[in-house]
Amino acid sequence: MAQSDTAPSVTPPVARLIEAFHRLPGIGPKSAQRLTYHLIRMPKEEAEEFAGAIAELKDRVVLCDTCANISESAECQICTDLQRDKTRICVVEEPLDVIAIERARVYSGKYHILHGVISPVNGIGPNDLKLRELLERLRDGSVTEVIVATNPNLEGEATAMYIQQLIGPLDVKVTRLARGLPSGSDIEYADDSTLAHALESRAEIS
């Protein structure tokens, strides 16, 4: 456990909660203290509801057996939806990416969540991702296209390359999300690889 930053005068339950918040990603010691003292001021019912929500989360939420998305049952809503296109799988890094793509309302296929990305400097290799499960899904031959939607950064690209090599021997088309200039941005500030990809993937104005 990390060394506590809290003053010795802080009572143990408060110090414990500050430390618990501090362990969350993106929460520093000051934010942890702020959140804890906010909870102290909160009405008891609200605090209990908050604690109950956390407990329920751990009791009821599981990973979907098929796509590894967050789900309440063995199969998530997307995997059980018969209206969705079974022949396409969109591979994403995290469950939050599914929400982002669904928000766009243009994709009607299935998903597969890797729960990470190949990151050698952080000691995360292919075996730490849900790649074996992805291969299993492709074995029956019903999937014709795998869309790799990992983030367009170095580690996302490396993961996409790895997936491409992994799936290569199977008779499945592997595509990658297009990369280029984001809407509302300035060409002046674009980095070289974004500009290069934008130029390589240029499209005729129709």
Binding site: P25, G26, I118, P120, V121, N122, G123, G125, P126, N153, L154, E155, E157, A158, M161, Y162, Q165, P182, S183, G184, S185, D186, Y189, A190, D191, D192, S193, T194, A196
Partner: protein, 260 residues
């Protein structure tokens, strides 16, 4: 009355060696720089698609960036790419090597510790990795040169146990003692010894004096390559007192390449 020190702002070049997410849309970026050593700073909103600096501050990019020093994490702004090393991004093997090299560079760098030779070495080796097919020997060159720059050059002419000049023959290598051990010597302290054939010793000596352009063309047998890799890695592990996280992936990619 105490007065607050005015924050110092400077512009530096650097190579991005580590990235981690912070909060909603920020990133903590770690750079190896020539004058300021290891620089860690926050790139605000750099995960948003419209960010002006997000695309520049990606792993293994040589960038110019403005740093605003604070007592905790510095603030990063006005980043621009000097070299994106695009070919390291299009090849899994080059990527795995470059990740290993960037991890070692980070481990051998300290904050506020100027290290221009290390920075120049990192840049030149990343450039070489983009074009060479001999990625194995470029990696060994980097390891050897880094040990030399850090004051841990392996002893290759005299036995580290007896001090006697080594005869041209197969010997042993001790990372703990920092050099070759005569095959006749009986170490007083029990230590992990690695085999070092005559050819491997020749390669070690050559690498210690070679220029990068010469390292690119070194040819060696599989056994010599394996011994060389084990010796230099063992030495780096001993100096750092730990292994490197990126080694496993680099080895996996290499073994897959050898299989095909």
């Amino acid at each position: 009355m105490t007065t607050k020190r005015r924050p110092i702002t400077y512009t530096t070049e650097g190579v991005v060696v580590r990235i981690s997410n912070l909060g909603e849309a920020d990133r903590i970026i770690t750079l190896v720089t020539p004058i300021h050593g290891l620089v860690r700073g926050v790139a605000k909103a750099s995960r948003k698609p419209g960010s002006k600096i997000g695309g520049h501050l990606d792993m293994l990019k040589h960038v110019s960036v403005s740093v605003r020093e604070t007592s905790t994490l510095h603030g990063l702004s006005q980043a621009s790419t000097l070299n994106g090393f695009r070919k390291l991004r299009d090849d899994l093997e080059r990527f795995s090597r470059a990740s290993y090299i960037s991890e070692i560079s980070e481990q051998f760098s300290v904050e506020n510790g100027s290290n221009q030779p290390l920075f120049r070495l990192l840049l030149s080796v990343l450039e070489a990795l983009e074009t060479t097919t001999n990625t194995d020997m470029i990696t060994r060159f980097f390891e050897m040169r880094l040990l030399q720059l850090s004051g841990f050059q392996p002893e290759m002419s005299r036995c580290v146990e007896t001090g006697i000049e080594l005869k041209p023959a197969n010997h042993l290598y001790s990372a703990e003692r920092g050099g070759l051990l005569s095959n006749q010597a009986k170490p007083v302290i029990e230590t992990a010894l690695l085999p070092a054939s005559l050819n491997t010793i020749k390669l070690l000596r050559f690498l210690s004096k070679a220029k990068l352009m010469n390292a690119k063309v070194i040819k060696a047998g599989e056994e010599e390559k394996r011994q060389l890799s084990r010796i230099l890695r063992a030495q780096i592990h001993y100096v750092l007192d730990r292994g490197l996280r990126s080694e496993a992936f680099m080895d996996e990619v290499r073994s897959k390449k050898t299989e095909t």
